[in-house]
Structures are given as C-alpha cells and as structure tokens.
C-alpha cells in the first residue's frame, strides 16, 4: 500500500471522517450510475460538480491490459454533449500487484486523483470526471508500472463529418448546393468558410442574391451559391459547432466555362464532317472510274462494229460485181 500515492499518504488521519461524510452524500449519484455496489468512493473535490451535473448522462468505458501487451491500447470515444465520464482500466499481471505504480494522465499531464482496487490477480483503477467544455476533451491515459509501462488511452473527440471526396464541377452561371451532413449527431450551429489563399474566410451571408444557407434538419446544412463565376472556385469548409468543440469538412468546387467542352465538341464535329466528305468523295471517284471504264468499253465496241462494217462493205463490193456478172 505504500506504493500508492494520493489519499493514502499525507492525509491519512482525516480519511475515515471524510469517507463517512462522502459516502452519505454520494450514495444517490452512485445509485443512478451503477446498480451493483461499487467498492469505490467519490472524491471530495467533485462532490459539488457531481450534484450540479447530475442531470447529465453517464458514460462508462473500459480498457483491459496485461503485462505482456506490446502495443498501447487505445479507445476512441465520440462525444457530442457534456457528460459524466467514468473510465476503468484493469491490469492483469502475474507478479506482485502491490508493487505496480498506477497513474492517470491527460495529454502527459499527471492527474491528481486515482482510485484502485486489487482482486485476485487483476488490478482495477477508475477515474471519474465530467466533460463540459472543449478544453476537457483530449486523451486520458491510465499508466501501469514505471520501468516497463503499460498504457491504455481513451481518446475523446467530437463527431466527425464524413462527406464525399469528389470535387463538385459546375459551369459559369449555374447554381450549386454544397451539402454537409452529420450522420447521428446534432450540432448546435453550422458555419461556412471559403478560402482566400490559404486562409479560411467566413462566407458573407448578407449577399442574399449570391449565398443562401438553409438546412432541412438539424443534422445537415446547405449552402446554395448562385450565379457562379470563375472566382467562386476553390475550397469551402463547413464547420459543425458542438458544445464540446468543432469539426469541419472540406468541399472542393470547380467552375468551368462552357468553352471547355464546347471546343472538344467542335473538334469532334469537324472530324465527322471530314469523314463524311471523304466517304462521299471516294464514292464519287469510284463511280467516275466505272463510268470511264464503261465509256471505254463502249468505245471499243463501237470500234469493233466499225471494223465489221468496213469488212462487210469490202466484201459486198465483189459480191455485187459477181451478181452483176452473173446477171448478164
């Protein structure tokens, strides 16, 4: 027991008295959190806070570690609104439980209080607190041992926005709707930013003929940009504002002018006109060749007839004379 810091040390004489008072005061809040009787007691520092935030929900999270774990164990927790948190770490070791050094840390800063219990060969430690603002979000770790550390980390984050990664492509003069949606969460507020170089600049909502922000439900927001021009292209961010922080999503907007596909269209149309011209010209050419060859054939035929005719005339003459000779 000497190894455990905290209340067991210098404040030992006051402990029994304090414990009795606290047990009496804390019993209601323990009852609504845990039906089974917990061996732990609530610390004196948080008595008022527990009473103030007793209407908040209680979230309980667990990590198990052994002395042979090679990698640190992490648990990611998504938190949207203020809650009471109870973190429990259990450590299994074959050695002496009393000699294990236990600390709780937030982002490498050692936290004051911790409570633990040893049952058999398992060491339980618990840390209870309340998260009400964004400063209290972050990573909370329970660390076992000094030389060879076994660490379990709870990471608290606000809900993330998941969106499509494809850029939105639109043309000059169109209007476009940028959408941001949060899956199972309900932010308090949404804000939109556009990019000016590398700086995020809020979107000027006063220009009603250019920007309109509305959203059908609490978990989505839409930014409608009308009369797109080339200057509107670039990055846009939507921020979801929670009580415990902000998360953002990035949307890329590309604005093209009509000339871009139009040039491709005209090029292909010109190619089609060329193809048609080639096909029709080829056909006219082959037809002319056929006509010339037909003319050539007719010419040969006429020549042949002429030769036959002249042969006939030559032959007729002697026959004619023969007939005349016979007739006399």
């Amino acid at each position: 027991m000497r190894a455990l810091p905290g209340l067991m040390g210098p404040r030992a004489p006051l402990l029994p008295l304090l414990l009795l008072c606290l047990l009496a005061a804390a019993r209601p809040s323990l009852a609504d959190g845990h039906p089974s009787a917990s061996p732990f007691t609530t610390p004196p520092v948080r008595e008022e806070t527990m009473a103030k935030y007793s209407n908040l929900s209680l979230e309980s999270h667990n990590i198990s570690l052994t002395e042979h774990s090679n990698m640190p164990v992490e648990k990611n927790i998504t938190l949207e609104r203020p809650s009471n948190i109870k973190l429990i770490c259990q450590f299994t070791t074959s050695g002496d439980l009393n000699s294990v050094n236990v600390t709780w840390r937030k982002d490498d800063e050692i936290l004051e209080t911790n409570y633990l219990n040893a049952t058999g060969s398992i060491l339980y430690t618990q840390y209870m607190f309340t998260i009400v603002n964004s400063k209290q979000m972050g990573s909370y770790s329970c660390v076992f041992g000094e030389k060879k550390e076994q660490r379990g980390t709870f990471n608290f984050k606000v809900p993330e926005l998941h969106g499509k990664n494809k850029p939105l492509i639109n043309y000059v003069g169109d209007s476009v709707v940028l959408k941001c949606k949060c899956q199972d969460c309900f932010p308090l507020n949404w804000t939109w930013y556009s990019s000016n170089g590398s700086v995020q600049v809020p979107v000027d909502v006063q220009m009603n003929d250019k920007y309109v922000i509305n959203g059908k439900n609490a978990n989505e927001t839409r930014l409608k940009i009308m009369q797109l021009s080339e200057e509107d292209r670039g990055s846009y961010w939507c921020h979801a504002i929670f009580q415990l922080g902000e998360s953002e999503e990035h949307i890329e907007l590309v604005v093209l002018s009509y000339l871009v596909p139009l040039k491709a269209f005209l090029a292909i149309a010109a190619e089609v006109v060329l193809l048609v011209a080639i096909i029709l010209l080829c056909e006219m050419y082959t037809q002319k060749k056929k006509e010339h060859s037909d003319d050539g054939k007719e010419f040969e035929q006429i020549e042949q007839l002429k030769l036959d005719d002249s042969n006939g005339i030559e032959n007729n003459a002697p026959r004619h004379r023969k007939n005349e000779a016979v007739g006399q």
Binding site: Y171, L256, P261, A264, F265, A269, V272, L275, V276
Partner: protein, 426 residues
C-alpha cells in the same frame, strides 16, 4: 444505276457491316450505359430515380414505335439520307439536353428527339444489311450486332470518366458529338437497287401487302412472344443472385461472363445460320427452344456451378437467336419489302418488350421469388418457338433459301417465265 440481279454478298457489303456495327454501338450502347447519368440527374434535379428512369424508357419506346416511319422513309428515299438525318436528330437531342433546366426538358430532348433520331437509324441500317447479303446474311447480321455488347463494355467507363471531368452538362455535349458519328455511318450506306424493287412498289403498297401476308403476321406474333420473355433475365438475374445470397462482386463477374458468351453466341449463330442449308427459321426455333428450357431450369439450379453453367448457356443461346431473328425476315418477305417489314416487326415486338419486365416484376412481388417469373418467361419463349413451326417451308429439308426472282412472281401473282433459272420449288 443498273439493277443488280442478286445481293452482292460481299464487297461494299462489308462496309455496311462496319457501319451497322458502329450504329448498334452508338444507339444501344449509349442507351444501355445511360444508367451512369441517372445518378447525376437524380442529384442535379433532386428527383426520384423512378422519374429519372423514364428518360430511357421514353427513348426506347420512341425508337421502337418510330421504326415503321424510318422504314417507310428509307423505302422512298433510300437508307442513306434517312440515317444521316436520324444521326443529326439524335445528336441534336443530346445537345439540347445539355442545356436542360428541368426533367421535362430531358424527357423531350433525349426521350423524344434522340429517340426519333435512333428510330431513323437502326432499322433502315439492318434492313440495308439484309439487302446486301443473301448467303452470308446471318453472319453479317451477327457481326454487326456484336457492336451492342462491345460498346456496353466500353461506354460505361467512358461515360464515368466524362462525368468526373466535365460534369453532366459537358458529358452530354460530348455524347452528342459521339452520336454525330451516326451521320458518318449513314454516309457509308450506298444505295443498292435489287431486281425486285420496281415490282414491290412504294411504302404504302408494301405496308398493305405485308399486313395481308400470312407468314409475316405469324412471324410477328412469334417475335412478340419471344421478346416478352427475352429481356426478363437480363433485368432480374442480378436480383435473383442476390436472393440466393451471392456477393455483389461475383454476381457482377457472372454478368460479364454472360455478356461475353452472348457475344460469342451471336457470331457463332451467324456463321451457323449461313452454313446450314434450309430455312433459317429452324435455327431460330432451335435457339428459342433452348433458351426457353434454360430459363425454366433456372429456379431449379441452386448450386453455384450449376448456376454459372446455366447462365453461360443462357448467354450463348439468347445471343444466338438475335442475328437469326433478323435473317428470317428477308426469307419471308423478300429483300424488296425488307425496310417496311423490319419496321413493322420492331414496332409490334416492342409491345412484348414493354410488357415483359413489369409482368415479371409483378410476379415476383406476388410470389416472393423469381421462380414464377423465370418459368413464365421460358413459357413465352417456348410459345414463340411453337408459332415458328407454322412458317412456310419449315419441314422441307431440301429447299434452299428463296431466290428474289421467285418472290417477285409470288408477289405479282402471275407466272412469268424467267430466262435464267427455272422455278425449282413452288
């Protein structure tokens, strides 16, 4: 231009095959890949998916019901000017759609305008193809129709890339430029005058004579029945796989395999249709019966290997029946009336297509799984193949395909002795 006695079966015909390949890619490939745009439209216009999908439905309906108009015009003016005008209309529809500010604009521009453009292109091109080929008709049609499958592979990623780079307005503008290539394809369709053209007369005469032609009407009924069952598995295969607890990735992979076997089936059936003597209608009946049987077996197959085998077989047989379905028509009505004939067939069979998918969905809602809808679609296909048996010359094993001169005499109703060949079969 001198009238040719017979279809050339090659030569410039292969350029027509190329043109038909690109046209089926640009019409049906665009339609099938349009689903990529739907997500963007839903977000941009803040409408429900059901209302946005009406765009494609209107486009398909206008394309199919407008087929007779395209056919009649191409009988009068030849396929080339009609297809080029159709290409300009289709591109104009997409161009106007890129400026749309509401969903109604899209219904009118893509649905009505582009749809009528597509109506003026697809049917005249296939009919022109049938006029250019007689011995290798099925192979040529099969090769041309592979354009649909290949373009579905290529256009879906292309449209995604266009959307990510230009957003939907710019992407529609570029799809319009893509559709302009229909005009170039139309320029390839050199007019061909066949011997029977003067005998069959103008579009009005042709339409009336077709409506009194018994075999043609029976064939139309058969195709309508086939069409009712044909599209159902494409729409419901994925959902059926999900009902059987397949993961999305193997299911998508199976669909790709089905698409590949569909392509192979088209080309193989095209080659087979020309190689096997006799009326092509018998091959159509074979493929249709096989497809119907496979569909009816689908609910029974529960093991993954059996399902994969059935799906591949379905892809092959359903792909196989498409080129043969187009080749039967010229044998029935002759290459002179092919434009009007094809237009009428497309218009009537579209009723089957429009009824098939909602019927199947209704059956699924009522019974809770896809067993009934698969069996019913198989039954429709078997009924269609049954009607095919009633076509003329079905059971003649020695009869070759009808020659154009014989069909001219049949149409005119007189026996004119032709110098070149005797009238072999009557």
């Amino acid at each position: 231009m001198a009238h040719k006695a017979e279809p050339p079966d090659g030569g410039w015909g292969w350029m027509v095959v190329l043109s038909a390949f690109f046209q089926s890619a640009l019409v049906f490939g665009v339609l099938r890949s349009f689903g990529v745009f739907f997500v963007e439209f839903v977000a941009a216009f803040e409408e429900q998916a059901a209302r946005v999908s009406w765009i494609a439905s209107i486009g398909i309906a206008v394309q199919q019901f407008g087929s007779p108009v395209g056919s009649a015009l191409s009988t009068k003016f030849g396929p080339r000017p009609v297809v080029m005008a159709g290409g300009i209309l289709a591109a104009l529809g997409m161009l106007l759609a890129s400026f749309a500010t509401s969903l109604t604009h899209l219904y009118l521009s893509i649905g009505l305008l582009s749809g009528s453009g597509w109506a003026l292109t697809f049917t005249p091109t296939l009919a022109c193809l049938s006029r250019y080929f007689s011995r290798r008709r099925s192979l040529a049609t099969g090769l041309a129709l592979t354009g649909v499958g290949l373009s579905s592979f290529a256009f879906a990623p292309l449209f995604q890339w266009l959307l990510s780079y230009y957003a939907w307005r710019g992407a529609l503008l570029l799809v319009s430029a893509l559709s302009l290539h229909l005009v170039a394809c139309g320029a390839l369709l050199r007019p061909l005058s066949l011997a029977e053209d003067p005998a069959v007369g103008g579009p009005g005469t042709q339409l009336t004579s077709l409506l009194h032609h018994g075999p043609f009407l029976r064939y139309t009924v058969a195709l309508t029945l086939i069409n009712t069952g044909y599209f159902i598995p494409y729409v419901h295969l994925v959902a059926h796989l999900q009902d059987l607890d397949w993961d999305p990735l193997p299911a998508a992979f199976l669909l790709s395999v089905v698409a590949i076997s569909d392509l192979v089936g088209r080309v193989a059936s095209g080659w087979l249709g020309d190689a096997v003597p006799g009326p092509v209608a018998r091959l159509l009946m074979l493929w249709t019966t096989l497809t119907g049987v496979i569909l009816a077996l689908f609910p029974v197959a529960l093991a993954p290997t059996a399902l994969v085998a059935l799906a591949v077989a379905y892809g092959f047989t359903s792909g196989a029946l498409t080129p043969v379905a187009f080749s039967v028509l010229p044998e029935l009505v002759g290459t002179g009336k092919i434009y009007c004939g094809l237009g009428l067939v497309q218009m009537v069979e579209s009723i089957g297509g429009l009824l098939g998918a909602p019927l199947s969905g209704y059956l699924r809602d009522v019974t809770g799984n896809y067993t009934a809808s698969f069996v019913v679609s198989g039954a429709f296909l078997l009924a269609g193949s049954g009607v095919l048996i009633t076509l003329p010359h079905f059971f003649c094993f020695s009869a070759p395909t009808s020659k154009p001169q014989d069909l001219v005499t049949e149409t005119l109703g007189t026996k004119v002795p032709l110098p070149s060949e005797g009238l072999g079969e009557e």
